[in-house]
């Protein structure tokens, strides 16, 4: 896999047989689990809190805090759901861990279960990742034979089961309550919160849902200590991070670098710059839901807080780079089409609004637009935002608004010239 370069999360992914337990153990794997089993649940949660680990699935919620929400002494089973439903355009980092280092994920899953008092984990993986699901299943069997999964793990008296649950094609199942509904065998329609999953989650029981990369960080925090993890990156944005570069870069791929690495550095040094030396026109910094940055805004640390301050979002840390041949209206339309397609249909503002955005953008792109359409578009985004059960509505609204505001002149040019000045884009 191009670019996997790091010494923590991607340390072994380039090795032949990296998906096997032998290669994982030969490189320091399954050392963290026995150490963790000697600690108390509170100590482990405290350790993850102090490390500053924030959820890598997009929201950046502190992982230790989330774990702490599980009620103590509950008499119900506690579930851990590992979110491998990686589906947002631009995001492709979790797939690398599932395919090339599944034991890192499994060891992290087991430690996380132990910390939250759970004996049952599901790894929910998008249905299209059939090969990765097979690799994970094989790794689970290896871990079971080695005594890391099942009854009385390593003589600790603690039992834990881990299994893979394949989705069937629905972006919304990456939303944590949509994911829970899907494991229950239903349409993946998100639930109203509260109650939060930590209290009422899978099968009505306390449940923690964490992203693959979040879980993969856990064994390293146990073996190297929270101080080590907290010392990487920037303030409040700690640890190593997988950055996925795609679009117009010479070397697309997954790169490991500290949180807070400069976006321009990622593009130029890791990604090898833009093909043909063309200028960067725009970057979607962390998955399609994140508002676009202009090419003159890319000197920015890639972390949750810096991107939020810049009016965008860090998301999953997976920038899509676009050169000066790309039509911004068409890029906005492709994004809007995605969210309209993936809206689960429960909430009217999202179901109707996302489709409306898609149609308005298509009108402008094909030269049928009027100037008032830009205001209509912005007004529709205002009416979706914050008015839906889950964040998919916001995810549809933010990028449409971002493109229209950042590239208003290009939108107006489409309208005045009654055509796409890029001829539909060289990539129509």
């Amino acid at each position: 896999m191009a670019g996997a370069n790091g010494n923590v999360l991607t340390k072994i992914v380039h090795l032949p047989g990296s998906e096997t337990i032998d290669v994982y153990r030969a490189n320091g794997g399954y050392v963290a689990l026995p150490e963790a089993l000697k600690k108390s649940s509170d100590d482990l949660i405290d350790m993850v809190k102090r490390s500053g680990l924030r959820g890598r699935g997009g929201a950046g919620f502190p992982a230790g805090t989330k774990w702490g929400f599980v009620p103590k002494g509950t008499n119900k089973p506690v579930y851990l759901c590992v979110n491998a439903d990686e589906s947002e355009p631009g995001a492709f980092k979790d797939r690398l861990i599932c395919a090339k280092d599944p034991h890192q994920l499994i060891e992290g899953t087991l430690i996380s279960c132990f910390a939250i008092g759970s004996s049952r984990a599901y790894i929910y993986i998008r249905g299209e990742f059939a090969a990765e699901a097979r690799i994970l299943n094989a790794a689970i069997e290896e871990a079971r034979r080695a005594g890391f999964i099942g009854k009385n793990i390593l003589g600790s008296g603690w039992d834990c089961e881990v299994s893979v649950y394949r989705g069937a094609g629905a972006y919304i199942c990456g939303e944590e309550t949509g994911l829970i509904e899907s494991i229950e065998g239903k349409r993946g329609q998100p639930r109203l919160k509260p109650p939060f999953p930590a209290v009422v989650g899978l099968f009505g029981c306390p449940t923690v849902v964490n992203n693959v990369e979040t879980i993969a960080c856990v064994p390293h925090i146990v073996t190297r200590g929270w101080e080590w993890f907290a010392g990487i990156g920037t303030e409040r944005n700690t640890g190593p991070k997988l950055f996925g570069l795609s679009g117009h870069v010479n070397k697309p791929g997954v790169y490991e670098a500290p949180m807070g690495t400069n976006l321009r550095t990622l593009i130029e040094e890791f990604g090898g710059g833009v093909p043909g030396g063309r200028p960067v026109k725009a970057v979607i910094p962390g998955g399609a839901s994140c508002p676009v940055l202009r090419g003159d805004e890319i000197d920015i640390p890639m972390d949750f807080d810096s991107l939020t301050r810049a009016g965008s979002l860090f998301g999953t840390g997976t920038p899509v780079i676009m050169d000066d041949t790309v039509c911004m209206v068409r890029a906005a339309w492709i994004t809007a089409r995605f969210f309209a397609h993936e809206s689960c249909g429960q909430c009217t503002p999202c179901r109707e609004g996302a489709g409306w955005l898609q149609r308005l953008l298509w009108r402008i792109e094909t030269g049928e637009g009027e100037e008032k359409d830009i205001d209509t578009l912005l007004s529709v985004t205002d009416q979706i935002e914050g008015n839906t059960i889950c964040a998919l509505g916001d995810a549809a609204a933010w990028p449409a608004r971002g493109f229209a505001k950042k590239f208003r002149d290009e939108f107006l040019q489409h309208i005045r010239e009654k055509r796409c000045p890029f001829g539909g884009g060289s990539h129509s």
């Binding site: 355009p89 797939r95 990742f129 059939a130 069937a168 629905a170 795609s246 679009g247 676009m322």
Partner: protein, 154 residues
């Protein structure tokens, strides 16, 4: 009719899941692997084995894009149409398939060999453009590689 083996697989799923309904998605995957698609009759059979009402099964089948409610070809070609693939020629791939096989998005060739479906992001943006053939990913596809692939799939 589901094969005896598929029925057995679905029966076994009941005991490995917390509830019969939570076995539904794995059961539908198994049924589709057996039948190629999920007809109303297949959906009814799955519902009967799991003790779930027909509307529950249909509600789930219609929600998830990987469950086919119509027959599909032997090779289902799913081309990604989203951003990263678009920037690296994904739409050209789709056009190439359409022209070579004479089918539009969603159609199946008359000989039943190919179905073309354009899909949203396949989560493989770093190796765009990407095409799935049934369960297999084909990444970093060039027009030449695409041409070869279509010839090899018989």
């Amino acid at each position: 009719m589901l094969s005896a083996q598929a029925r057995q697989t679905i029966e076994a799923l009941k005991s490995s899941h917390e509830t019969n309904q939570s076995a539904l998605i794995p059961a539908l995957h198994a049924a589709q692997a057996d039948q190629g698609w999920l007809s109303a009759e297949t959906q009814r059979e799955v519902g009967e084995i799991l003790g779930l009402p027909e509307q529950t099964v249909r509600g789930v089948v219609s929600f998830y894009t990987m469950f086919y409610q119509r027959p599909v070809g032997k090779h289902v070609l799913q081309v990604c149409r989203n951003l990263s693939c678009w920037l690296r020629g994904g739409h050209d791939l789709q056009r190439q398939i359409s022209e070579k096989l004479g089918i539009a998005d969603g159609e199946t060739t008359t000989d039943g060999r190919f179905t073309l479906i354009s899909v949203e992001c396949l989560g493989s943006c770093g190796t765009a453009p990407v095409l799935m053939v049934n369960d297999d990913y084909h990444e970093n596809l060039t027009p030449e590689a695409m041409e070869r692939l279509l010839t090899e799939l018989t």
